[in-house]
């Protein structure tokens, strides 16, 4: 399927160009991320299903927010699904994941249950944090998901600390610390970069560049808009990846994770991605044009890309995809029902989990 491969590579470049205005760098010879990225049928179907679950889950969360079941802040991941799904495909048991507050997708990708996540969003006792954390603060020790952090950039130092623990224990696990183009301007990010490479800690810094830090575009906030180069003064290699193509993400993740496991230290992956919705539920997103959003949706949608390939290659029929869609909708509907019916935490929970 040579033509497909070519299409994939050029598609990656065009998305990269449209995502940032920096000139594209010559590809590094020692890093092939995104180039040898063909998926087999099983991988395509798995990626399709996992991304669809996040998309449908987030749409449902938006709906429940609108109905008042979810309160406070709620940041949806719609549009960025390929990043976390592709990354997760490269991880193994014991690898840790930590992120900021746009976190529902990461939880589902690590295998946390839709019911537990949705019930946390509605503030119910069956939620991952018994209803005490909410959208921005959720954790799963079992799935090695370390949150869910509401302070922009804090997860970068914490994720570096997870990697420190791996190195201290002498295991070969890798920590993946996700943060956005906005967090990339926080000071502690660079403090962490410095220590991570000084001590050769196994951490993949995944910068999800969705082009807007709340309402401020990358160009208006960043002197260096090529975030893959943000580790340069610490000697940390970094690569831009088409974050809308799950195959490119997976291929880059494979190489980055292998680099960390081999004890070479931290690595940066800048995922060029896009969020379709506003920053949070109350953001009308007036800082960008509708055409811009529509163009990403129609030309680069991560789920539609996989869907088109599955159909083109004859790996799935429309009916089979519909069946997956129904299955995913059933999971999401079940999680929403559970999250609405589950009781609020007992009042005695007010004073639990403060100290051990």
């Amino acid at each position: 399927m040579a033509p497909t491969k070519t299409a994939s590579v050029s598609g990656r470049k065009s998305a990269a160009r449209s995502a940032t205005k920096t000139s594209s760098k010559p590809a590094r010879k020692d890093f092939n991320g995104g180039i040898f990225a063909e998926f087999d049928k099983g991988q395509e179907l798995a990626a399709y299903r996992d991304m669809l679950l996040i998309r449908r889950f987030e749409e449902k969360a938006g709906q429940l927010y609108g109905m008042g079941f979810i309160g406070g802040f709620c940041h949806l991941y719609i549009g960025q699904e390929a990043v976390v799904v592709g990354m997760q495909m490269a991880l193994k048991e014991g690898d840790q994941v930590i992120t900021g507050y746009r976190d529902h997708g990461h939880m589902l990708a690590t295998g946390m249950s839709a019911r537990g996540v949705m019930a946390e969003l509605t503030g119910r006792r069956g939620g991952y944090s018994k209803g005490k954390g909410g959208s921005m603060h959720m954790f799963s020790k079992e799935k090695q998901f370390y949150g869910g952090h509401g302070i922009v950039g804090a997860q970068v130092s914490l994720g570096t600390g997870l990697a420190f623990a791996n190195k201290y224990r002498g295991n070969d696990n890798v920590s993946t610390a996700y943060f956005g183009d906005g967090a990339a301007n926080q000071g502690q990010v660079y403090e962490s970069f410095n220590m991570a490479n000084l001590w050769k800690l196994p951490v993949v810094y995944v910068i999800e560049n969705n082009r807007y830090a709340m309402g401020t575009s990358v160009a208006r906030a960043s002197a260096q808009t090529d975030f893959s180069q943000r580790g340069a003064s610490f000697g940390i290699p970094g690569y831009q990846v088409d974050g809308m193509d799950v195959r490119a993400v997976k291929a880059a993740a494979d190489e980055a994770v292998a680099y960390c496991r081999a004890g070479k230290g931290p690595i940066i992956l800048e995922m060029l991605t896009y969020r379709y919705r506003g920053h949070s539920m109350s953001d009308p997103a007036k800082y960008r044009s509708k055409d811009e959003v529509q163009k990403m949706r129609s030309e680069h949608d991560p789920i539609e890309q996989v869907r088109a390939r599955l159909l083109e290659k004859g790996w799935a029929s429309e009916d089979e995809l519909k069946a997956i869609d129904k299955d995913v909708r059933d999971i999401v509907a079940d999680s929403a029902d559970f999250a609405q019916a589950d009781p609020e935490p007992d009042v005695s929970e007010l004073y639990t989990d403060i100290l051990l």
């Binding site: 709906q63 109905m67 079941f69 603060h137 959720m138 954790f139 804090a154 109350s282």
Partner: protein
């Protein structure tokens, strides 16, 4: 079954809005993500996206309608094969009359009323459960005949860390100059030689970053001792201490916390001026999820630091540079651990109670000696732990003496002393024979000039005078 499309809430506080425009009409096919309408809130114009697939069966609220309550049915979506006829009675044309109040509107849809719509009432407030009481064990008995060894606070702290590192492989020290340099104040002297660079980690000058790395390592199950060269520098790191270390156990519903000790010198040393001389006892004592320890003697420093390292919670351990070189008797025991959260009666007395902690005790001890020469018998309590605070011991003493003076070096507003005074006033008002007096540092940044610095700190004379005042002498 037809699906109701409801007027959405688009911010944490929205209760109603204007349905300004329909972008889909009856009979139009929609899929998830399609924009179907525009809504104006008090803040902005927002788009409403379809969540389900189907055909718009009926628009129930015309474009331009103002004050549409959240959760009012605004349209009905039909699934494949359904007809508009099936909508029938399930579609009230307008919000019900009783939907005037936000609570009623959301009840109608099964949603939760938003906090902003809930008026505070006495009935609701009275439902708050009582804070559970926690019992703290007393100090362990020291067996008769135990050898007491004169030890500096510095050595006691070092011994505590070394003993705990021998005991538990997960314990490690990190901070600026803790390894090769042997500690900026020589508290970690010899640890690198015994435990090696894996467990005694020199960090760059990067407080915010290494505090976060420490908390992350603790979340992964290690037990870091993070040394700040002084707590004045920990202000750079205070977000990680409070937002990450102190709150994670609660935010995770008890799944993971941070077994970590943040320690280092706190408060004024000598002539280091405003930016290096602040006492943070009151600051950290306000935070649920933290324990705050501030020892005075070498024995307490050792026993409490060992307890802090074993504690599964984040512990702030506030030391003092001036105390580092002072010597006290420390029992020679294999494993001397003291309970966090328990005050120590430094000297018994019957005329008045003085409560202090950390370096404040140095002034209090001298004042109590002078007062005894004048025939005033003071009970002196060393709080040792600021949070959780051993108020019962203070109250027991106040019940006996009826008079209370607190002593600390920190700023006077919202100080540890004012907290003690408030709680004693609330819980032992009838036992007080005089107003409680609080001695603290002066309400100024620490001056450099020697004479001014002395004036800014508490002094023995002030304490003597305060005790006489509460004794009406």
């Amino acid at each position: 079954m037809p699906i109701d499309i409801l007027m959405p809430a688009l911010s944490p506080t929205m209760e109603e809005g204007t349905l300004s425009k329909w972008l889909k009409q009856e009979g139009d096919k929609v899929t998830s993500g399609d924009v179907i309408a525009e809504i104006e809130t008090d803040k902005a114009t927002m788009e409403v996206e379809a969540v389900d697939e189907g055909v718009i069966g009926k628009l129930l609220v015309p474009a331009g309608t103002e004050n549409v309550k959240v959760n009012t049915k605004i349209a009905v979506l039909l699934a494949e094969g359904e007809s508009a006829d099936s909508i029938g009675s399930s579609a009230p044309a307008a919000p019900k009359a009783d939907a005037d109040t936000p609570a009623a509107a959301s009840d109608a849809a099964g949603g939760k009323a938003r906090q902003s719509a809930e008026e505070p009432t006495a009935a609701a407030d009275s439902k708050v459960p009582a804070q559970p009481k926690v019992d703290v064990a007393s100090d362990p008995d020291i067996p008769a005949g135990t050898e007491m060894v004169m030890t500096t606070v510095r050595e006691a702290l070092r011994d505590a860390m070394a003993e705990e590192m021998r005991r538990d492989e997960d314990v490690f020290v990190m901070g600026e100059e803790v390894a090769e340099y042997q500690g900026a104040y020589k508290i970690t002297q010899g640890l690198l030689q015994e435990f090696g660079p894996r467990r005694v980690v020199d960090t760059p000058i990067t407080e915010h970053g290494f505090a976060g790395v420490g908390v992350g390592a603790a979340m992964a199950g290690l037990k870091p001792i993070v040394e700040f060269m002084t707590f004045n520098f920990a202000m750079q790191a205070i977000d990680q201490i409070i937002n990450s270390a102190a709150k994670t156990l609660y935010m995770s519903g008890g799944q993971m916390g941070a077994p970590i000790v943040f320690r280092g010198p706190n408060g004024a040393a000598a002539r280091v001026a405003a930016q290096h001389s602040q006492d943070y006892a009151a600051w950290y004592s306000q935070i649920p999820g933290l324990k705050v320890v501030m020892p005075y003697t070498a024995a307490d420093a050792k026993g409490l630091l060992k307890a802090a390292i074993r504690d599964p919670n984040p512990v702030i351990f506030l030391e003092n540079e001036i105390l580092y070189g002072q010597s006290f008797e420390v029992p020679k025991l294999d494993d001397f651990v003291l309970p966090i959260g328990k005050a120590r009666i430094h000297k018994q007395g019957r005329d008045a109670t003085v409560v202090s902690f950390g370096i404040g005790m140095t002034y209090a001890v001298k004042a109590v000696e002078e007062l005894s020469k004048e025939g005033i018998d003071v009970e002196l309590i060393d709080l040792r732990t600021i949070r959780p605070m051993d108020l019962p011991t203070v109250i027991e003493s106040v019940k006996k003496t009826g008079r209370l003076v607190t002593v600390e070096e920190g700023y006077p507003q919202s100080s540890v002393g004012t907290e003690i005074a408030t709680r004693v006033m609330q819980q032992a008002f009838d036992y007080l024979d005089a107003p409680i007096l609080t001695i603290a540092g002066k309400d100024v940044p620490m001056p450099y000039a020697s004479n001014l610095e002395k004036l800014a700190l508490p002094n023995v004379g002030e304490i003597v005078q305060a005790v006489k005042t509460v004794c009406y002498k």
